[in-house]
Amino acid sequence: MSAPLLVVSALTKLYPRRRTAPFRPPPPPVRALAEVSFTLAPGEALGLVGESGSGKSTLARCLVGLEVPTSGSIRLGDEELVGRSPRAWRALRRRIQLVFQDPSASLDPRQTALASVAEPLVIHRLGKPRERRVRALELLESVGLAASQAGHYPHELSGGQRQRVGIARALALAPELLVCDEPVSALDVSVRAQILNLLHELQERLGLALFFIAHDLAVVRALCTRVAVLHEGRVVELATREELFARPQHAYTRGLLGSAPRGR
């Protein structure tokens, strides 16, 4: 196996709590992530499942620098991400990008699809305006949006189209790793498979690595070749797809599998 793209070691995130009464010591901090460790190979799709409150989104936010871990390390290639300045993060974001759950909340309502996708290029001063425009149109096309939709504002697009814009924007800086935090759970059921197909196609075509977070086990099973299970901030199980779904080891994983809708 090639050298891993991402190495997460003993990542811990504590949220301190306020004291409940004067002179009394504050209650112990909330442990959102506890000693989380895993690796991700270039071009690999790694899934992360867990229920709400398990720490999934905290982990995603730590990976892209929106949250500062309390301790531990995240290495992307040969660069350490923990403890980097906001300025350093700006450069790092060219390599690692986040796709949000709800594109109607993450896109600027006053920006057209084209402007949203071109914005990262503007921020990073990549190319001339005309080149940015061409590149943004290419990106929109690569996620299945027509040139005629480039001038649309988010409210003029459907949920699935907005998520396509979100993905195109995340791809603008040609990252090596895409962190996807529940990218299909806010979409209409009949549109979800389209977006999963798009993510899979991008992974294959661009050699993109995916860190795919979801609460829906069947969706993770479709897309990811390895799966980590997060429970109360800990990775309680990490296995290949075949192993995890055929022989779940941890009681919590078995519970999760037991409450998923059964297949036909």
């Binding site: 229920e51 709400s52 459907s158 949920g159 699935g160 189209q161 209409d188 059921v189 009949s190 549109v191 979800r192 498979a193 389209q194 999963l196 197909n197 899979h200 196609e201 609460h215 829906d216 086990l217 069947a218 969706v219 099973r221 479709a222 897309l223 779904f245 519970g255 999760l256 599998l257 037991g258 409450s259 998923a260 809708p261 059964r262 297949g263 036909r264």
Partner: protein, 330 residues
């Protein structure tokens, strides 16, 4: 089987400057005592609007244009507001997706439950308390702990249980559950659905379960009715619909939903396009722009909802049904 509620040709429209837009276009359904009917659809399909219409809760500027809904031989759509209000709560109840919206944030659980009994059964607060406690016990909550709590002190699963306890407090004959588990994690989802089923068996309550998740409701419903763009596309016994769907939309939905069975293979079968904007639905069969079988006729005419041969109560609205049946028969 006699229906407890029989709704016929419900039609709701929106008045706009450009004219009247139909949002619900001739939806009929029936549900018998002790039965669970699932209304399944995506956003904009009209599944919630169907329930609101029957309950007389359609908010302006929407307007009920036509339809009848017979409950105990009375047409709910013609009932004076006073009588309808008496029925709601006592005989007809609804549980919403977000229990926070249904619970008063400044009142304890005890106060919210006892108030229902004070208003509808004219009990004193003291007499109502044991009933409230029993209702909480029935949904698996500890009354001593929960009665004194405010909604924000409870978890999402506990809040939904309180909302269900409140809805069932007066032993309604019919309960609408509008995406009651969408805000909950999978294991809580199963618990809440199982709870609904147990209460239903015990009391013979009829349940209309409204959901976007076809695979999930198929496990809990007796019958399933699939809505798309304000019309019924297919309805059948849950197992029949799940195992032998006929309508191309139902088939597409089931095929495109990843499951825990079989080998995942890309590309996943997907339905192209997206559900139509309720204000700009396509003419003819509203599914035709996304349908692999669409013909010129589908673009021009609305296919009627027709029954397959008796004794099956499988109904579907598609011009291609005869061909699909032949293919399946082979």
């Amino acid at each position: 089987m006699t229906a407890l509620l029989e709704a016929l040709d419900l039609a709701v429209e929106l008045d706009t400057r450009e004219g009247r837009v139909p949002l619900l276009d001739g939806v009929s359904f029936e549900v018998a005592a002790g039965e669970t009917l699932a209304l399944v659809g995506e956003s904009g399909s009209g599944k919630t609007l169907t329930a609101l219409t029957v309950l007389g809760l359609v908010p302006p500027p929407l307007r009920v244009r036509a339809g009848r809904a017979f409950f105990r031989e009375r047409n709910l759509l013609r009932l004076p507001e006073r009588e309808l209000r008496r029925l709601r709560g006592r005989e007809l109840a609804i549980v919403f997706q977000d229990p926070l919206g249904a619970l008063h944030p400044l009142l304890t659980v005890e106060r919210q439950l006892t108030e229902v009994l004070e208003v509808h059964e004219r009990l004193t607060r003291r007499a109502a308390r044991p009933r409230a406690a029993a209702a909480l016990e029935e949904v698996g909550l500890e009354p001593e702990r929960v009665l004194a709590a405010y909604p924000h002190e409870l978890s999402g699963g506990m809040r939904q249980r309180v909302a269900i306890a409140m809805a069932l407090l007066l032993r309604p004959a019919l309960l609408f559950a509008d995406e009651p588990t969408t805000a909950l994690d999978a294991h809580l989802e199963v618990q809440v659905l199982e709870l609904l089923r147990a209460l239903q068996r015990r009391h013979g309550t009829a349940v209309v379960l409204i959901s976007h998740d076809l695979a999930r409701v198929a496990e809990f419903a007796d019958r399933v009715q699939v809505l798309y763009a304000g019309r019924t596309q297919e309805s059948a016994a849950a197992r029949v619909l799940f195992e032998r769907p006929l309508h191309p939309y139902t088939r597409g939905l089931l095929a495109s939903t990843p499951t825990l069975a079989g080998e995942p293979r890309f590309p996943l079968p997907a339905i192209p396009g997206q559900p139509p904007d309720p204000l700009a639905r396509p003419p003819g069969c509203a599914f035709h722009p996304r349908c692999p079988l669409a013909s010129a006729r589908c673009r021009a005419e609305v296919p009627p909802l027709e029954s397959l041969r008796a004794p099956s109560d499988h109904r579907t609205a598609c011009f291609e049904t005869p061909r699909l049946l032949l293919e399946r028969g082979a």
